[in-house]
């Protein structure tokens, strides 16, 4: 049961996804004045997790049963965002305001992932009888 704790895998994948999204946002902001640049974004975490791990697979109750499902790995796929607003005369499509909002979301997601990981680790430690 302890060889594959899903909460740790999920928290780790969520933090990884937040890091990949932060990278895409930084790329957009750095290219905010480059002519002809289209902004890129990453698929939302729930979608990306579902793509790799089939959440509706039957749970494995004995090690001998064959489990057909994902291994809990995460792939953060970068896609070009659809043009929602008007682009600048030089063809640039980056909006600094929406990038800032996205970066606040990313920060929140990353902090939540680390908090979940930390508290799950604390529960394990409490189970072992260690206070910290």
């Amino acid at each position: 049961m302890f060889d594959r704790l899903e909460i740790f895998q999920k928290a780790q994948a969520m933090a990884f996804h937040a890091g990949a999204r932060q990278s895409a946002i930084a790329r957009n902001i750095a290219n905010a004045d480059t002519p002809g640049y289209r902004p890129a974004d990453v698929k939302p975490f729930a979608e990306a997790w579902r793509d790799v791990n089939n959440d509706f697979a039957p749970r494995q109750t004995r090690a001998s049963h064959f489990l057909a499902g994902g291994t809990g790995t995460m792939v953060a796929e970068v896609v070009a965002a659809p043009t929602e607003g008007a682009s600048a005369p030089n063809g640039n499509g980056v909006s600094l305001e929406s990038e800032m909002v996205k970066s606040a979301e990313v920060r929140h997601q990353h902090d939540m992932a680390l908090a979940i990981y930390g508290s799950a680790l604390g529960i394990l430690r409490a189970g072992l009888g260690r206070s910290r």
Binding site: A20, Q22, S23, A26, I29, A30, S103, H110
Partner: protein
Amino acid sequence: MSDLSQTLALSASGMQAQSARLRHVSENIANADTPGYQRKLVSFQGMVEDGRRTGQVEAGPVKLDRTTLTRIYDPSHPLADATGHYDGSNVDLVIEIADAREAQRSYEANLRMFDQARQMQSSLIELLRR
């Protein structure tokens, strides 16, 4: 983890490009009264390494603005021609100040992204300490 390190490089390249842009703006403003001065334009381009786009940005080659220079009337000037006019510069201070403001705004946005990536990285390492 390598994504966050890449983020630092991306934001740093953005900051360098914006400060190069600001440097050219201040050159233009300083030479606003120089006779015959053509203002410098710089446009950004994506950096290419080994044939692939790294996502980083750099300031491209400097171009000169080809609009006509203003003709200033001053017969006492040493460069004045027969009609008493001489060529000034084609720098418009309003445009330069607006450009400087936008360069500053983009610079601060890049700096904020840099700081956030750095904080995310250090909170990951903090997790190991507990």
